[in-house]
Amino acid sequence: MRPPGAVDERQFMALCIRCNRCLEVCPYGSIRRAGLSPTVGTPYILAESKACYLCMACCRLCPTGALRTDLRNPEKVAIGKAAIDRDLCYSHLFLKHDVLPDATGAKIAALCNTCYNVCPFPDTAIELKDNLFPVVLDGCVGCGICVERCPTRPRRAINVTPTGMGRIDEAGFYFRKARARFRGGSQKIERDSVLKGQRLLDTKSRIEGSDTPPEFTFPYDPDRKIEGWE
């Protein structure tokens, strides 16, 4: 995605003069410079390798207002929305299958919730539903720290879909580019990793808002005799 405070993508492309000041000032080295393409020289963040830590140093410095210079409050950043892939997330898988088959076929048990633990805005951006599995809320700013820390490989169970891109197909472009680059520097994009069409819709439909909590059926028949169990 774009650095925090980025205006609408069309406007951003017009205003960004590729001075790379945001890139220079970023203390975490999160901001990268786009290579040879129509977007050459513009800044972007690849959450898989280094997420934005919302220090807001870059927006203050933008000389043209491509990043909103008046933005100080990290909670008002909206560079993306995280989405959890329930087929990959350890916590969701564990709840579904009781135990979790790993790559070798061995069964491991895991309740991970790393994304909740690293989130800068826990309980406004992401919550632990029933203290068991993470659900992204509307407060998500898209910083991508959860993506950076998500333990699943090769694909992350949580990913940020960039907003502010204006058009959805462009957002797809950045998303694919980021993903292809993450996968060993190869520009060849594997079909499997491309989120578009029905798969994109599927992934997006899994984004959960706070107002409509998902129906969750607990697969256990809990022992009612345990003391203090509600």
Partner: protein, 278 residues
């Protein structure tokens, strides 16, 4: 001392800062940040006016921050003309080096420049034509396209990438292309005929701006036999009569040449601060 010595020193300092700024930023000293597209020193924001013009056309809005960023460079150009080009621009230094190599290899003096002013007029038409077409394209595409061909900006960005990531990106190929063309085809063609930054800076030239003046009232022909000032001018001007042409970068080469040969024209800098001075 000759202007040339000071000029080279300034150029080298600016060239060094290209590498120093990202190095300082690596040590988390953020007093100076940016590349030569836009630099900020403390809270003073200085931007290349060409990119400001494009950002305005591409976005369709004029904002206070945009105008403020371009203000300092505009003021500098208003008072001192295109001193950025002649005295600071890192690409101009590269072009100087290329020209020196070219002269060493060719071992012959370039043909004597004509002084009818046609060449300068054509060069200016080409430059502003390129600027207008580029700005128009930027407006249509909503992308500041002239930034892709801004030589000082690219050089500075490459220097930053070199310092930060120990690599260079593909845009260095554009600089290489310019160097090859200048070496083999036409020396200084970029600064003379195309550079959008130089064109925008030239717009701010007024009668009060620093310019090259001569003591002869209305010179028609070269005042000395050697026409040393015209031979020295990198922009192909005839400084004895075109001292305030929009091509002039106030580099001072002609003045150095004139004084070295004791020319009767007595070329000197004149302008707002130097009115009537020597």
């Amino acid at each position: 001392m000759k202007y040339g010595t000071y000029r080279r020193a300034t150029q080298l300092i600016v060239f060094g800062f290209m590498f120093l700024i990202p190095a300082l930023n690596l040590f988390e000293i953020y007093l100076i940040t940016g590349t030569y597209y836009a630099v900020s020193i403390g809270s003073l924001s200085i931007a290349d006016p060409a990119v400001i013009v494009q950002a305005v056309f591409a976005s369709g809005h004029v904002t206070i921050s945009l105008v403020a960023a371009g203000l300092f460079s505009a003021l500098l150009a208003l008072l001192f003309g295109r001193v950025w080009c002649g005295w600071a621009c890192p690409y101009h230094l590269v072009a100087d080096a290329v020209n020196r190599i070219r002269r060493r290899v060719a071992r012959r003096e370039p043909p004597a420049p004509s002084w009818d002013g046609v060449a300068a007029f054509r060069a200016n038409v080409t430059r502003f034509g390129f600027l207008v077409v580029g700005t128009f394209t930027a407006g249509v595409l909503a992308i500041p396209v002239l930034n892709f061909v801004s030589a000082p900006g690219i050089l500075s960005t490459e220097a930053m990438i070199l310092v930060k990531e120990r690599t260079v990106s593909v845009e260095i190929g554009f600089i290489a292309l310019l160097v090859v063309v200048e070496l083999l085809v036409l020396p200084r063609f970029w600064c003379r005929l195309f550079c959008p930054t130089g064109s925008v800076l030239a717009v701010f030239r007024t009668p009060f701006t620093l310019h090259v003046a001569t003591s002869i009232k209305t010179p028609k022909a070269p005042c000395c036999k050697g026409n040393y000032c015209s031979a020295a001018c990198p922009m192909g001007l005839s400084p004895f009569r075109e001292g305030s042409n929009m091509l002039c970068t106030n580099c001072g080469r002609c003045i150095d040449a004139c004084q070295a040969h004791g020319g009767p024209g007595g070329l000197r800098f004149a302008g707002f601060f130097f009115q009537g001075g020597a």
